[in-house]
């Protein structure tokens, strides 16, 4: 079994949880000088770890470690809009890496790329001209959190193809490395007026089955949805869940029909309903759902889980992990049937990703 690292972004720096057996875990950190860290990823090709962070004082940067956290550098060289553009960057929200290309999504919405492992950056796209882009810079139109580009996901085989979520606007796909974009929101629900037919949807989290390129799932502000054609159309699969709202989602590494979500109270609290912690699983692509709460706190657990804060490893019997807004990390090594708390007293958790270290 490879060494497993959980890469954890928190409001006060990055942390690693490390294990050789998924039973005992060692915590390392905080890294990144306690900056708010929105997303931490591992590039299996180069071995580098990247963290998207934004300090109240010192601005945004992408941190990099090439020795699994022993030492770090940081750079924002090139992560800036022209001073005369009227656009400013408040944070770097999300990262993606593929085939030597490192992308960071920022707010105001834009995507910057690095071809030298995060040392220098250049603007790749602002999705200018896409429906909704004429208004999404206006702070009065931005949803809380101000994430801008809230997620990026590369295609596994084609480095020119990736998906981007514009927070509060919707999902977009490019097949020519951001030269052109196509909104991918057909079939989604919106319980509010929209100015454009193709956008105006609140996509919280997009995931894709590792064993079926056409199978995607998304947790939306209103409902869970499934796509069987790589995001071209969506079907709602909310029925059976306790709420339609949530952020985190994860796919099973071997089963295209298995998928995990953490429903939250859709009000302003955005915590697990009635203080009972639970993950929900479908094994039939959303036709039915099972509540998984063995080992999770069942009273007074008013915890939230953010969009990047659940991850799954790729072991034969996959392990699932999620981190909470109150600094706990929970793990399951039996596909979600039972859970154990593996860390506590961390700062509020923004993201968890799994790195398998051979």
């Amino acid at each position: 079994m490879p060494r497993t690292l959980l890469l954890i972004g928190t409001r006060k720096g990055a942390f690693f949880l490390e294990t050789n057996d998924r039973k005992t875990w060692e915590l390392r950190g905080p890294f990144c000088e306690g900056w708010p860290v929105y997303h931490v990823i591992h590039d299996p090709k180069s071995g580098a770890v990247y963290a998207a962070a934004a300090s109240e004082w010192h601005g945004q940067a992408v941190w990099r470690s090439t020795d699994l956290g022993e030492s770090w550098t940081h750079s924002s060289e090139g992560i800036a809009y022209d001073a005369d553009s009227g656009r400013e960057i408040s944070k770097v929200s999300t990262l993606a890496v593929g085939d030597g290309r490192l992308l960071v999504g920022v707010e105001a919405p834009g995507i910057f790329e690095s071809r030298d492992e995060g040392q220098t950056w250049s603007l790749l796209s602002t999705l200018a001209g896409e429906p909704g882009s004429d208004k999404w810079d206006d702070p009065s139109n931005q949803p809380p959190g101000h994430l801008g580009i809230s997620a990026l996901m590369f295609d596994r085989d084609d480095a020119d193809r990736f998906w981007a979520i514009v927070q509060g606007v919707g999902l977009f796909e490019t097949t020519d490395y951001a030269q052109s974009w196509t909104p991918r929101n057909r079939g989604l629900r919106a319980d509010w007026p929209r100015e454009h037919e193709e956008v105006g949807f609140c996509v919280h989290k997009l995931v894709r089955s590792p064993v079926d390129d056409n199978r995607m799932y998304q947790q939306n502000h209103v409902g869970m949805h499934r796509s069987d054609d790589a995001g071209q159309t969506w079907t709602e699969i909310t029925e059976g869940l306790p709420t339609e709202f949530g952020f985190a989602a994860a796919t099973h590494p071997q089963d295209r029909d298995a998928f995990y979500v953490i429903p939250l109270d859709p009000g302003h609290g955005r915590t697990m309903p009635e203080g009972h912690a639970a993950v929900w699983r479908t094994r039939d692509a959303g036709s039915s759902w099972q509540r998984l709460d063995s080992g999770l706190p069942q009273r007074d657990a008013h915890v939230g889980v953010l969009r990047e804060a659940m991850a799954v490893d790729s072991e034969d019997v996959p392990g699932l992990y999620f981190g909470t807004s109150t600094g706990q990390v929970f793990a399951s090594t039996d596909e979600g049937d039972t859970w154990a708390q593996i860390a506590d007293y961390l700062p509020p958790i923004s993201s968890i990703e799994v790195a398998a270290i051979e």
């Binding site: 109240e56 004082w57 601005g59 940081h74 924002s76």
Partner: protein
């Protein structure tokens, strides 16, 4: 020669960066230029495009709030402060 004092939050980001140093500079901008030459990337930690000072980075020249183009006298003291913010 300006007597430049830097915030504690900056030193861990740049190996070898002291909390205090003497800089030959005619303006606050010159001080930042000097720092950038010695510790590449430090400008981004202090300035936004323009450049202007970041919102929560305050600079005082001889105890007076300064801007990036504020001139320095021969013996100015320059305090760079990470303003109290956040939680």
């Amino acid at each position: 020669m300006a007597d430049v004092r830097l915030p504690s939050t900056l030193a861990p980001l740049f190996p070898g960066l002291p909390r205090q140093l003497d800089v030959q500079a005619a303006t606050v901008s010159d001080v930042i230029d000097h720092l950038e030459r010695e510790w590449p990337g430090i400008r981004d930690r202090l300035c936004e495009p323009g450049p202007t000072l970041r919102r929560h980075i305050h600079v005082y020249v001889n105890s007076e709030r300064a801007k990036i183009d504020t001139p320095l006298a021969k013996q100015s003291r320059v305090d760079v402060i990470a303003a109290i913010s956040g939680g």
